[in-house]
């Protein structure tokens, strides 16, 4: 059965038990989401653990995770529901003798409905965690599809009527903030921005996520990453990159970090050639001093 929480700190502890280190703010907002039954809109740069938050939530609440990956061109039939045309056609052809009214009633029943993630989350008998990933990728018009679900937890199907949620799903939306989301959507959500973590928390995350990492190395790693984030970069390294980097360094057997090590492994942290050049140039200048 599913688990619910008594206080924000319980949320934090539970998340920690699955190796997701949430700060105080995050646990408070997640707790509110559960208590108020409101969706959470999680925003922040790529790779700071937005999707991971939803996954961890599913784990700690022992709910199933239903995921809707958004993309440009996503529409009703992919997100909500679709009538199974082919099956309907077959049905009509199978008994052409019967009257139209009977057939119509028949082919617009739940048997011919293909449930897509949103409807599935609503119809589920067990409460679920619904993750709507990268909502900023869909068009503004498509966002409107979500509004009914987000505020009332129901889906209206013209032929069938309104399907209400049997159990309240915990909804998490993520956005990389590539465009402004509509006011209507934002109004219905609690807003949680996850930025790059403070140095201490990043260190803890590294230690939790990369076993075998020494305390000292993680401290150095976190500091270097913070230093690199201060450059004006196209894509500053985020948490997932620093975790990758920690793994790389472990694999290479580096016991501590110096300029050369950083320069050799910079391509793990940075994804643009101009960024890499910029940072390594700056490090070289320091060398010459």
């Amino acid at each position: 059965m599913t688990v619910s929480f008594g206080s924000p700190s319980e949320v934090g502890d539970a998340l920690k038990s699955v190796n997701y280190l949430a700060d105080h703010r995050t646990s408070q907002i997640v707790y509110l989401a559960e208590a108020l039954g409101k969706p959470v809109l999680v925003e922040g740069p790529a790779g700071v653990g937005k999707t991971e938050l939803a996954k961890s939530l599913a784990t700690i609440t022992e709910r199933a995770l239903i995921r809707l990956q958004c993309y440009e061109g996503l529409d009703e039939s992919k997100a909500l529901y679709e009538w199974n045309y082919k099956k309907q056609l077959l049905r009509i052809q199978a008994d052409g003798e019967r009257g139209w009214d009977a057939i119509e009633e028949d082919i617009f029943s739940e048997d011919f409905l293909l449930a897509r993630p949103l409807l599935e989350a609503i119809r589920s008998a067990e409460p679920v965690v619904l993750l709507i990933d990268e909502i900023d990728r869909v068009e503004v018009e498509t966002e409107a599809l979500l509004l009914e679900i987000l505020s009332d937890f129901q889906v209206s199907i013209p032929e069938l009527g309104t399907i209400s949620a049997r159990t309240q799903p915990l909804v998490v939306l993520t956005s990389n903030n590539t465009r402004e989301l509509s006011e209507a959507l934002k109004r219905r959500c609690l807003f949680l921005h996850i930025g790059y973590p403070e140095i201490d928390r990043e260190k803890e995350i590294l230690l939790a996520r990369v076993p075998d990492l020494s305390e000292e190395l993680s401290e150095q790693l976190a500091r270097v990453v913070r230093s690199i984030r201060q450059f004006q970069l196209k894509k500053p390294p985020s948490v997932s990159e620093s975790i990758d980097w920690a793994r790389t360094l472990l694999a290479l057997g580096a016991s501590h970090i110096d300029t050369d090590v950083v320069k050799d492994t910079l391509n793990v942290l940075l994804k643009y050639q101009t960024d890499i050049e910029k940072v390594s140039k700056d490090l070289t200048v320091e060398d010459g001093d």
């Binding site: 703010r25 408070q28 609690l190 201060q230 004006q232 950083v262």
Partner: protein
């Protein structure tokens, strides 16, 4: 509580953050599930329910600090301070105006150094408290902004010197450049935290002196996109610069969607027939040909003389970041002569480098380095007119202050005849146009539009309108905004 909260929401609205009624109610609801004694949780709750845009968060934080400042007795230093700070420092009301004596200050500086080295937050906080008490010279009822007190406190503590000493100490210890760099940054971030403590302390005292509303009003900062580009301070410029790139990415995404909506072309018969097979020959799902979006060719001319430099910088940055939206983009810079600057902004080049090279290498000064629009336009016409086509658009940025030289508007007229349209972006308030040496009127006649562009928001909306072609006027007869006549 309700009063404070509604006052707080009023303040948020006054700063430009849109808070709807529903959100206010949500906030009240959410507070029922919040431990109000827990400051972080309290702030998280208000933030999550009231502020839905990360760019507004800083403004929210300032207002929060003012409205929900921690009230604690100001005058009596607690026992804890004695332990951490060493000697007991009495607050001396007589010295409130002038600052403490040298020995006291020196002592504070010493304990600050200790606190910074040991990363002792509790101690930093108590030092901040005492420093403000003794050094800021705050007087009741004096209508001075908080920044003045901050400056005064930090200068007397010589915080910059403290930081420099600490950094030097570290650099002497370690030989590895990376290690010392990291250590330096660590110290810098601690100093930043200390400054934040001082700021908070000043704010607390201001609030208890003048009340929340008044303090919130003086601290109110315009949102980033509303900052006046011409008169931005150095710090603001850095902030704006950081905002430009994400803004252009968002705009590009929006434009792509806008284009798609316009993209429905003619019916694609073959495709429709092919699709109809799965519905037993019924063309249930009509298919359309995609239309190719027409992407304009852009010639951007920027005045980079002294007063216009900041503005030109953002325009160049913005437009070059949007270059994917245009079939061709060439930029030119001028003061009293004109030079092409496209080569500095090649794809993949670093923008700061490019700007530095523009100011070093571009040949824009001919006589005396005062703006001469007439000569620059003439040069543009002579050298580049053969490249202009009916698909080109010319965008000129500048205040049209020609230093009483001849405007030579006939050259702009000639240019305008060859291209689709000429647009002029003027960073001055509309009321200043055509006053003094501004010759905006002479040029406006050749322009399809003259826009007042004073902040990022206006720049963004111009580029948006300009780039998606269906929505902009193609002929010169339609005037956007107010036409200057």
């Amino acid at each position: 509580m309700l009063d404070v909260l509604s006052g707080f929401i009023q303040e948020l609205r006054a700063t430009g953050i849109p808070v709807s009624m529903v959100e206010a109610i949500d906030a009240m609801d959410a507070l029922k599930h919040t431990d109000i004694g827990d400051r972080v949780a309290f702030k998280a709750t208000l933030g999550a329910t009231l502020v839905k845009n990360i760019r507004h968060y800083e403004t929210f934080e300032t207002a929060f600090e003012v409205y929900f400042a921690l009230h604690r007795p100001v005058e009596t230093p607690s026992d804890q301070e004695d332990e951490s700070g060493g000697r007991r420092l009495e607050s001396q009301p007589g010295q409130a105006g002038g600052g403490g004596n040298d020995a006291d200050i020196q002592q504070l500086i010493n304990s600050l150094m200790h606190a910074l080295q040991g990363n002792d937050e509790e101690m930093m906080r108590s030092i901040a408290r005492r420093a403000v008490e003794q050094l800021a010279g705050m007087e009741r009822g004096r209508p001075v902004g908080g920044t003045y007190y901050l400056y005064r406190t930090l200068r007397q503590l010589s915080v910059d010197q403290v930081l420099k000493d600490l950094v030097e100490g570290v650099e002497n210890e370690t030989s590895d450049s990376l290690a010392s760099r990291l250590e330096r940054e660590e110290l810098e971030s601690r100093v930043e935290r200390f400054k934040e403590e001082v700021r908070a302390e000043i704010r607390r005292r201001l609030v208890s002196d003048r009340g929340r509303e008044a303090v919130a009003r003086t601290l109110r900062k315009p949102l980033l996109e509303d900052l006046d580009l011409m008169h931005a301070t150095r710090v603001e410029i850095a902030d704006i610069e950081q905002a430009v790139y994400p803004l252009t990415r968002k705009l590009a995404a929006r434009l792509a969607q806008k284009r798609k909506r316009h993209r429905q072309g003619r019916l694609d018969f073959r495709k429709t027939m092919r699709r109809s097979l799965s519905y037993g020959g019924v063309p249930a799902d009509p298919q359309f040909r995609a239309t190719k979006p027409s992407r304009p060719e852009v010639f951007l001319l920027c005045d980079i003389s002294g007063s216009m430099a900041t503005f030109a910088r953002f325009t160049l940055q913005f437009v070059h970041a949007m270059s994917g939206q245009f079939s061709k983009l060439r930029s030119f810079v001028f003061v009293d002569a004109l030079d092409e600057s496209t080569r500095f902004f090649a794809v993949g080049s670093d923008f700061d480098d490019a700007l530095a090279r523009v100011s070093d290498e571009a040949e824009v000064v001919w006589l005396d380095g005062h703006s001469d629009y007439g000569n620059s336009l003439e040069m543009f016409y002579d050298r580049y007119a053969q490249d202009l086509t009916a698909r080109s658009a010319v965008i000129i940025t500048g205040d049209a202050r020609n230093n009483y030289r001849s405007p030579q508007a006939e050259y702009l007229e000639l240019i305008a005849e060859q291209v689709r349209a000429v647009y002029w972006l003027n960073p001055e308030p509309r009321g200043y146009w055509n006053t003094g040496d501004s010759v905006m009127r002479a040029y406006a006649e050749s322009c399809a539009g003259v826009y007042e562009v004073r902040n990022l928001r206006q720049l963004e909306s111009f580029i948006e309108e300009f780039t998606v072609p269906n929505l902009i006027p193609r002929t010169r007869s339609i005037t956007p905004g107010v036409r200057v006549t």
